[in-house]
Symmetry: C2
Subunit: 249 residues, 2 copies
Amino acid sequence: MMPKRPMAAQNAGGETCSPITCGDCGIYGLCREVNGTGAAADLRLLETIVRNRKLFKRGELLYRVGEPVRAIYAIRCGSAKSYVLTNDGRMQVTGFHVTGELLGLGALATDHYTSEARVLETTMVCEVPLEVLEAYSEEMPNVRYQMLKILSQEIIDNQDLMLLLGKKNADERLATFLLSFSRRFQKRSYSPTLFNLSMSRSDIGNYLGMAEETVCRVFTRFQDDGLLITARRQVQLLDLDRLRLISRG
Amino acid sequence: MMPKRPMAAQNAGGETCSPITCGDCGIYGLCREVNGTGAAADLRLLETIVRNRKLFKRGELLYRVGEPVRAIYAIRCGSAKSYVLTNDGRMQVTGFHVTGELLGLGALATDHYTSEARVLETTMVCEVPLEVLEAYSEEMPNVRYQMLKILSQEIIDNQDLMLLLGKKNADERLATFLLSFSRRFQKRSYSPTLFNLSMSRSDIGNYLGMAEETVCRVFTRFQDDGLLITARRQVQLLDLDRLRLISRG
DNA sequence: CGTATCCTTGATGCCTCTCAAGACGGGTGG
DNA sequence: CCACCCGTCTTGAGAGGCATCAAGGATACG
């Protein structure tokens, strides 16, 4: 039915996860802002980060609902999903996180986690204990400001998702989803048009508030319309402009 | 068709808005936490708040998208809705705010507002300029902590709404909505079972991701099932347990 | 007392979910 | 190296929940 040429796996996705080849992570971004304020403290923070590297295998939990909040996490390499649950066990994926992004900050000022995070593939994370973060934010106003900034960004991202869930149809949802990843990969100097997604169709559907099957159908239709080429989790975007038009901001 | 007995308007809603009878507001809560740390500074903050009281008439904007962030707002009396917009003008209501609640904190660390807020009725707000807030948070660690706490709470609330929008059906949505207001009114020492809603069916539908007509139909069905009595914006909840069962957390 | 706004109800259609079955691919063990 | 198996992806058929369109009724406000 559809031409299935093998595509060269260029970038992203984290199929190979080497601590050496890994890009920079969010915490470093957080530190960089601080440079010039207190270089010594800065170095100590970096040291802590490096010491707290941990490797997670596909499907393992970073944290779960009800657990006391101990740390925030920076993904050095790999990816994760975070989600919330209903009483009767239904799940809503609230976000995907790729190399270089932070998670776990939303629960910063709560006693216990209200959401869970699970890695989607073999993933290397920096675990920054809350005490460490608090100590540094005490000393350095810029770290405080950066933390507020990150929280604000999370709220803005959530607002976008609410808009999507409440007001967009299936086509708009998937287009929005793909463009979001395109943007994020570009930001990390990966290709914005050729990447592979580390999550299943089921996870995508859950995140976008639609059935797994509907996700497949829209993917197929987008491909028939020449918007993209897809083979399993590999995606090549062919017409960003038209996707933007479809996504409707 | 349905019995329309007039109900006594007991509480909430803010039909009457007198600065004297108004309950306490979120900022005071924020200050109270600080007592013992710096009573002098605390008083100055209160003074600022009182000086910055403002009255808004139904439909007026507290802030709009793209506007520079200048202040956060505490509702002393009345109510407001906040919402985000798509490129093509579609709106998603992201929250309702009643007497004693804060808004505008989500955009704290952004340059410009990404959402808008509009009052639903004649509403008295305390406008706290960002400089003031920053100055105090600089001096007082507890204020900083309270601000983080409030941001975290906003993220948690948003997660709940995402769960609702992504995974719940019409009945579950309305039940969840009503219980949320019940809880919030109770927290402010108003009746948790008899209150009036200050927003239109259209706003409720927008917030819950369903059509205005569907909201009406579910209200009617809930009334037929003996779950509540409703006449326009006046609501009396008759069976909280069953509503909780329907809402499914 | 007229008009605008909001609320309510009915009829109809469609978008998406659900159920079902088959295809594909990666991994494992013989 | 091949066969097998299981999870994931894909496609089809059918049903249903909710949106949309339409119109009448109630209420608030000037």
